[in-house]
Every structure is written in C-alpha cells, then in structure tokens.
C-alpha cells in the first residue's frame, strides 16, 4: 500500500508498504528517519517515542497505516539542522548520554513533560519517564538533565 504522512513538517510518501509494518519501521527503514530507536518493539522501553498529532506515542505500537494523513514529529524534528533544542543541550551538559540508545526517546518524552508541566518535581519526573528504559546511566544524570531543561525553559 501507499502511505502519505507528514514527518517533521515535510509531507512524505512511502510505497509498497506491507500492511503489518509499524510506524517505527516505516520511519526508520522507508523514510530515512532512524533517530527513533527499536529496543523492544513492544511498547516497554520508550526508545521509539514520537509525537503523533501532538500526542506522545510509542511508534512501535502504532501501525504505519494508522499514521496515514497525520503529522509525526521525531527526535530529528525538535531542532533545526545544526541546532540543538534546550532539552538536547541539557542532556549533553548533564552527562545523561552514554550509549545513547534510549536518548532519542527520553528527549522526546522530556520535551513532552516540560510542555505539560514546566516545573516538574522529582517524583513527577520519575513517573513521567518511567516508561523510558535506560540501561547505562542509572537515571541519576537523566533526572539532572530534566531539571536543567526545565530551568532553561523557565528562563528563556
């Protein structure tokens, strides 16, 4: 089947899509957006988090066909080419990136959290990010990064 959707502001088309393909697969393998990651492909790890019409979703749990005619924003679309979003800057500065496989999902989830709750408390951060698994950092510096990103957002 043919699929038309908007990804990071661009209208894109994918041909010969098998009906069973996930949005994650189409983004990564057909539309040249491999930034969203495939750690579990069953909605447990959050590595594939993207916005679908402004709602945070696990793109591995969305059939590509469900995204027909809708707008997707991935980690690649949060800042312009050569630029960093304040959330991305905060993850770098706090040392919240090690292997980085969880990072795109965490950055999209943090972006969503701060948009909803500009000054999250620690328990609120922990709960909001509990669906994003990280195996390297022990989350300590991820929490630092979220606090830093919230501060940046508050002062900008």
């Amino acid at each position: 089947m043919q699929l038309n959707l908007e990804v990071n502001g661009q209208v894109l088309q994918a041909d010969d899509v098998w009906a069973g393909e996930s949005l994650l697969y189409v983004l990564r393998e057909r539309l040249g957006c491999p930034g969203s990651k495939n750690a579990c492909e069953q909605g447990e790890c959050g590595s594939c988090s993207v916005y679908l019409d402004g709602t945070l979703v696990c793109s591995c749990l969305v059939l590509a066909a469900q995204a027909e005619g809708r707008a997707v924003v991935t980690v690649e679309g949060l800042a312009g080419a050569g630029l960093l979003h304040p959330v991305q800057e905060a993850f770098l500065a706090a040392g919240a990136v090690q292997c980085g496989f969880c990072t795109p999902g965490l950055i999209v989830a943090t972006h969503d959290l701060i948009a909803r709750n500009p000054a999250p408390s620690d328990p609120e951060i922990r709960e909001a990010l509990a669906g994003n698994l990280c195996r390297c950092t022990g989350y300590v510096k991820i929490l630092d990064a979220v606090r830093l990103a919230a501060e940046k957002a508050a002062t900008s």
Partner: protein, 787 residues
C-alpha cells in the same frame, strides 16, 4: 592463551610540563564526541545501517534445549517469493564452530542442538517479514533428548557428556595456608544467584557488504573487533584481511557483545547472495542470541576467632555455563580468585567449577564472576558478624585488605587497597531522613503508585558491603592495545588524529582517548577515526580495561609524537629537547616561554606514531591455584538504605552511598555515570532481574517479563570518588565500570535482611522471599536449602 611478553612497560617519558591546561584535557568532564549526534538522533547505530539494495537475514533456531537433528528440509523456505538464500551447516565454508576461548559452538547446528534458541539455518529475503516467514518454513526433524539443566547433575560422572571433553568446562582448586585450621566461630550457608541479562537496549544487528571479490565488510556492534575477525575469517575460510570490520554505533554492551551473534551469519548470507545483508534481532531473539550472567550456587564456610579475625574460608562454587564455553573459563577464574573478598584471609580452600548444561549459554557480564562471589562472601560476613554479635562494618574493618595483603592465590596487592577507608566513608555518609510519618507520599513507598501501602508494615533497613575486582586480563594472557596518533596542521592549525580499534560501547572510551591526546600534545583540536580492523587490536571493552589499556596506548603514541616534534624544535633552536614542551598549540621553552607555534613548526609535515601498550605481565595459576594472576585490583563499598513492606515483600531502595577508588578520574562526570549505572544493575540483580529458565527454556524473553530498574526504582546516589593512583597504570587510573555493580547488590540484600530479619540467601529476592513465604528462617540461622 599465550604467555605475556616479559618486556617491561614503556619507560617513563617526561610529562607535558606545566603551562595553561588545554581545554578538554584529562581530569576535565570533557563532552563526548558522539554526544551531539546522539541527542539529535543522528548517531548511526548498528541497527541503523541501511543500503538501498540490502536483504534482511533471519535465523532459524532450535525449539528444544537438547535434541538430535534428524533432517533439515529447506525446500519450502526457498519457494517463498522474495527469498534469496537459505543456508545450513553445509554452507559454512571454513571452521564449523566458533567460540571466545574454545571453538565449541557450531556456527549452524548440524547433528545436535544443546540449547533452546541454537541457530540451525539462515534466510535472506527482500523484506524482514518474508525472511521470518521463510524461516518458519524450514522443516527440521528432531529426536528430542532429555535436557541436563541442573549443574550438579551435569557434574555427576554418570550424566551424559554434552561435549566430547565432558561437562566440566573448568575446575579451579585453591589451597592456601594451613589445610585444616581451627576457628572459634564458624558460619556456613549456601547462596544462589539467578541468571541476569545484560539487557543492553540496542539489539544485535549489523550490515555485511560483499566486496565483489570474495571478501566482506561488516558494520557491527561488538566489544572486540579483532577477536570477531579472527573467528569470522576462520569460519568463512577467508584471510583476515578479506574480512574488514568497522564498529557501528553500539547501544550498550555490558559483556553481551563479547561473543558473536549475527557476525558470521550475516557475512555468509552476503557472500552467498552477493548483496548487502542486514540482520537485527528482536528483543525476544536477543534473549536467545547472547550469553547471560552465570547462575551460581555457592556454599561457604567462614571461620573466625572470637574477636572477629578471619581464620579460614572454605568454599565450593558451581557456575552454570550453559550449552557452550563462551568465557566460562575466565569467569570461573575470577570467581575463584576473588571469592574471599577484599579481606585478610590466611587460609583458604576453594573449589570452583564452571559446567556445561543445556541451559542458555552464559558468559561475560559486567562484574564477570566477581558479582556472584561478592553476594555470597558479603552475606557470609554479615552472618559471621551476627554469630559474633559484632557490628557488620566493624567485622569488615577488622579484616580489611590493604596494600601488601596477600590474596588466597598468593598474590601480594601492590597498589592502593583502601578497603577500610571506603567502608568508613559509606558508613559515615549522611543518612537520608526517615520516611515521613502521618501522610506519606505513596510515590515514596514500596509499591509506589500501585497504592500497595500507606506506610503500614513498612520497615527501614540499612546494609553495607565491600567488593573488589581484577582489572585487565589475567592469568598470563598477552593483553595489549594499539594506537596510532597523527599530528599535523592542515589548515594552519594543529590537529591531532587518534586511531584505535577500541569499542566505544557507551562507557566513554572515545572521549578519554581525545582527552589524553589533548593533554599529551597540548592541542585542543582532536579527532577520533572510526574504530576498525585496519589498525591493530585494542583488546576488548571489558574487564574495566579500556581506559588503562587503550588509554595507555594513546598516551604512549602521543609521547612518541611529542618527542619527535620537540627534537625537531630543539634542532632548529639549538636547544635541548628537555627544555621544551607543548602547550595550547605552542612550543614552549622553560626559559623563554613560547618559542614557536606548533602549526608553524609542523608546516606540511605529518608526525605519526603507532604504539602498543602492555600492562605488567601476569601468571597462570598453578595446581593449587597459586599465582600472580591479576594485573591490578579496584575496590568499592556501598551502603544501601531501603524501605520494605514486610507483609507484601515489596522493596523501595531509598538511598545508596558509595565510595570507590578510581585511581584517577580522567573524566569525573563519566566516572559518576559509570558508578550510577553500575549501581542500577546491582539493584536490578538484588531485586528483580532474572532470566527464568525452566527445563532449559527461557520463560520471560521480553522487557515485559524481564524487569530492569526504571526511573521509579533508582534511588539518589551519593558517590565518594577517591583518586589514590595505581603505580602500574597510565596516570594511575583504575578501571571504573565494574566495581559499582559488585558490592551494590549485597548491600541492598543486607539492608532488606535488616528490615525483615530474614535470611535471604537467593538473588534476585522475590516478594515471596522477602515476605517470608519461601523461607521463614531468621537471619543468623541456617536456612532451608534455597530453591
């Protein structure tokens, strides 16, 4: 394994002298070179590899843990439209087996399968779903055999041999001191450790690209490019230079990428189809596709005087290696040699076994044999303290190892061994405030928002533990790393380029290499070439060794480059090279200050040096387990504070305090990251992480059922980082990555014991265990045998 070279470590070379420190040099929290692409989603992991013409590979795996293969029929699979190849053992051109330490594992099984998930056939197809469906159409007839799943049964001489060499992969016997010493007080118990998974997030994956003339290029995530290439070349029947491997982005490793996964298979498919082939495991397949941490059963007897001095340790340790050897021999050696803990133990009698079974193969995971032993010996220290009516930390302090301590293998600890100081620091660290009485925030309680309790039946507990780990490779292995450093000024500014094969797996060795180059050459602009097999080996990103080893190689190569630059400058200036040094892009004279810009001096010249670095040689163990087997040791201590719902068996880790000697923190932020991440894995092993294997079959191969700590499970960490400097390593560094995962687990268990009064001899502790449903014996008394 070959014996280590007896050549001395490179002679000391003058340091880069004083001067304004270069930006991003050693000792700073320099940013990762891969950080920006990682936060933007532009970093190319192995699963992101892509080619317009690529095919997808899939693997046919055994549904049985033990069976004879009667026949394999690929006819139907080949008929699937879109299928380009179906391969079996008959298509393995070279050596039919592979393995890290002994090639005992079939590339594709031919006559017998020894574990559930063992690869038997391969498919390449245009779409991954086509490949999966064709894989289901490979018909295999089996004669199913009874699996051997209990390591004690495997050890029995009457049990069927799973390999021609028998079922013992390795047995290490250590006899140290008096054979039959007398003690006033004796503590005996048996402990069990479940099978832990590394649970890296980036699945096994890569892209194999045929070169059109019989060779192949492979882009893959791995921990040791050169040992992969050795095994690939043997099984593909190619010369090593026909197999070129480049490290693709690695989504975590923790030991699970030491063994081959898709490497040989993807290359076989690419060479057969003459098309690029991508392979990528699903999470379920990943649980079958890599080795796990060895489950172990550890029986210990500790003897002490009434005043609490250790007299002896007797231990029998059995490690379940699963179906193939992987790195079981080295895991066995670590467990045996470290199994008395960081204490003065004058007499020791140890027998440690790694055995073959039909369980999933086990091998490397962060902590590598030291983890299982530490849980048991630290539990023993607490048990002994209870019998002596002593404070558990006091007992440890009374017996703490220090510089000069002789380990049970007869090896004298030469470097700093600040066990007493580490324990004192964590004991004296400020405690978190007590849980808020009255209206507690349920998010802070065991069970959290599942609203399991409002604070009733919640008890707080505190536990301590210390541990240690050998750093680098041991037992006489020729452990080395290679680095090429190139200094030039292509656009009128000095640039240093570093090339090694060290695998950046997230730990930060890429950052460290650049930091070292900046400091040693006084040049801020430093770039790292991709790690590949066109340079000599760096050894594995394991054993906490890369900062020491590849760091050492980069430093040595930089020193050679610097010597050449300074002798050229000295010639031009008519000065002595010893009077000159490099700082921030300038050639400096001790007397005159800046005498040259480095760019001006270099002009069009490129100064390049390639160096190998070796740590001091180590020795094999003799028949009594004696020998200077280890290159160095790293120490850490942990204190855990937990709240336990003693009725429901739910545990909330409230706080972890740790102290660790890292020798020198080349990148303080990265050191903290290693400590915090290691503690998370230690907490996971204590409380939730277990690959559940029943009759040889993994019952929970998913992140739904194999639980790892989330942001809700991880407490704040207070890390006290000591920098005592190891005399045998570059800059005095020690490995950082493994100690945090070793003693954090027993500290958490000790805290839960303190809260519940239960013996808790098995990890992970399940709610049933914590609530006393499986073993009601109180701490300090002999429990029922653990399940």
């Amino acid at each position: 394994m070959s014996r280590a070279s007896t050549a001395p470590v490179a002679p000391p070379v003058a340091p880069p002298k004083e001067g304004v420190p270069v930006q991003g040099g050693v000792g700073t929290s320099a940013l990762r070179p891969d950080g920006v692409p990682k936060v933007k989603g532009e970093f190319a992991y192995s699963s992101d590899m892509w080619d317009e013409h690529m095919l997808w590979g899939a693997t046919v795996r055994s549904p049985h843990p033990h069976a004879c293969i009667v026949s394999i029929d690929i006819t139907d699979a080949l008929k699937h439209p879109g299928v380009h190849a179906v391969l079996t053992h008959e298509d393995v051109a070279g050596r039919k087996t592979f393995g890290l330490e002994r090639p005992d594992q079939p590339v594709l099984a031919s006559e017998r399968v020894r574990y559930r998930g063992e690869p038997i056939a391969l498919v390449a197809a245009a779409h991954p779903e086509t490949a999966r469906r064709a894989a289901e159409a490979v018909h295999i007839d089996y004669e199913v055999l009874q699996p051997v799943t209990d390591p004690e049964v495997a050890l029995d001489a009457a049990t069927v041999a799973l390999h021609p060499s028998g079922n013992v992969v390795r047995h290490i016997h250590i006899a140290h001191g008096e054979p039959d010493p007398e003690a006033d007080v004796v503590a005996e118990a048996t402990y069990e450790v479940g099978m832990q998974d590394q649970a890296f997030l980036g699945p096994e994956s890569g892209l194999a690209v045929p070169d059109g003339s019989g060779g192949v290029d492979l882009y893959v995530s791995t921990q040791w490019l050169h040992v992969d290439r050795e095994q690939l070349a043997a099984s593909l029947a190619l010369a090593p230079e026909e197999v070129r491997i480049t490290l693709a982005g690695v989504g975590g490793a923790f030991g699970a990428r030491e063994d081959l996964s898709i490497q040989i298979h993807s290359c076989m498919l690419a060479l057969t189809t003459n098309r690029p082939v991508k392979m990528m495991y699903s999470r379920e397949e990943s649980f079958y596709g890599h080795v796990h941490r060895h489950p172990a059963r550890l029986n210990y007897i500790h003897g002490a005087t009434t005043s609490g001095e250790l007299v002896f340790v007797k231990a029998r340790l059995v490690f379940d290696g699963g179906a193939y050897a992987s790195s079981s021999t080295a895991v066995c050696a670590n467990a045996a040699t470290l199994c008395c803990g960081p204490y003065e133990v004058p007499n020791a009698l140890i027998d440690c076994y790694a055995v073959y079974t039909n369980n999933p193969p086990c091998g490397a995971m962060r902590g590598f044999g030291a983890v299982q032993a530490c849980f048991a010996y630290e539990s023993q220290m607490d048990l002994l303290a209870a019998k002596l009516a002593m404070d558990p930390v006091e007992l440890r302090l009374r017996n703490a190892a220090s510089t000069g301590t002789v380990t049970p293998t007869g090896q004298k600890i030469e470097g700093p061994a600040p066990v007493a100081e580490l324990l004192t620091r964590v004991r004296d660290a400020p405690l978190p405030p007590p849980g808020s009485p009255g209206t507690p925030d349920i998010r802070e309680l065991p069970g959290g928002v599942s609203n399991a309790t409002h604070g009733e039946a919640v008890r707080r507990g505190i536990g301590h533990a210390a541990g240690y780990k050998n750093i680098c490779y041991s037992e006489g292995f020729d452990d080395y790393a290679t680095a090429r450093v190139r200094l030039s000024a292509p656009a009128g500014e000095p640039v240093v380029e570093v090339h090694t094969a060290a695998a950046e797996v997230g730990q930060g060795v890429a950052t460290i290499q650049l930091q070292i180059a900046r400091t040693e050459l006084g040049v801020e602009a430093a770039v790292l070439r991709p790690a590949d097999t066109s340079i000599g080996s760096s050894g594995s990103s394991s054993a906490s060794r890369q900062t020491w080893m590849t760091g050492g190689a980069v430093k040595t190569a930089c020193e050679a480059v610097r010597e050449r630059v300074l002798s050229t400058a000295a010639e031009v200036l008519g000065a002595e090279p010893g009077e000159l040094y490099l700082s921030n892009g300038l050639v400096m004279s001790l007397e005159l200050g800046a005498v040259y810009s480095l760019a001006e001096l270099l002009g069009d010249t490129v100064v390049e040096a390639t160096r190998e670095y070796r740590h001091a040689p180590t020795s094999p163990l003799d028949a009594n387990g004696q020998g200077n087997a280890h290159a160095g040791f790293a120490f850490a201590a942990h204190r855990a504070v937990v709240d336990v719902d003693v009725e429901l068996g739910l545990v909330k880790v409230v706080d972890i305090a740790t102290a660790q000697d890292v020798g020198m923190a080349l990148n303080p932020q990265a050191v903290e990251g290693q400590i915090e991440g290691g503690i998370a894995q230690g907490i996971g092993l204590a409380l939730m992480e277990e690959v559940q294997v029943i009759d040889g079959v993994i019952r929970n191969p998913s992140f739904t059922d194999y639980l790892i700590p989330t942001s809700l499970d991880m407490p704040p960490v207070h890390a006290d980082v000591l920098e005592l400097g190891d005399p045998g390593s570059p800059y005095g560094v020690k490995g950082v990555g493994e100690p945090p995962v070793i003693s954090s687990t027993p500290a958490v268990v000790a805290a839960v014991r303190a809260a519940t009064g239960r013996a808790l001899r098995r990890i992970p502790m399940r709610p049933d265990d914590v609530a006393g449903l499986t073993d009601r014996s109180p701490a300090g008394e002999a429990p029922r045998e653990p399940r």
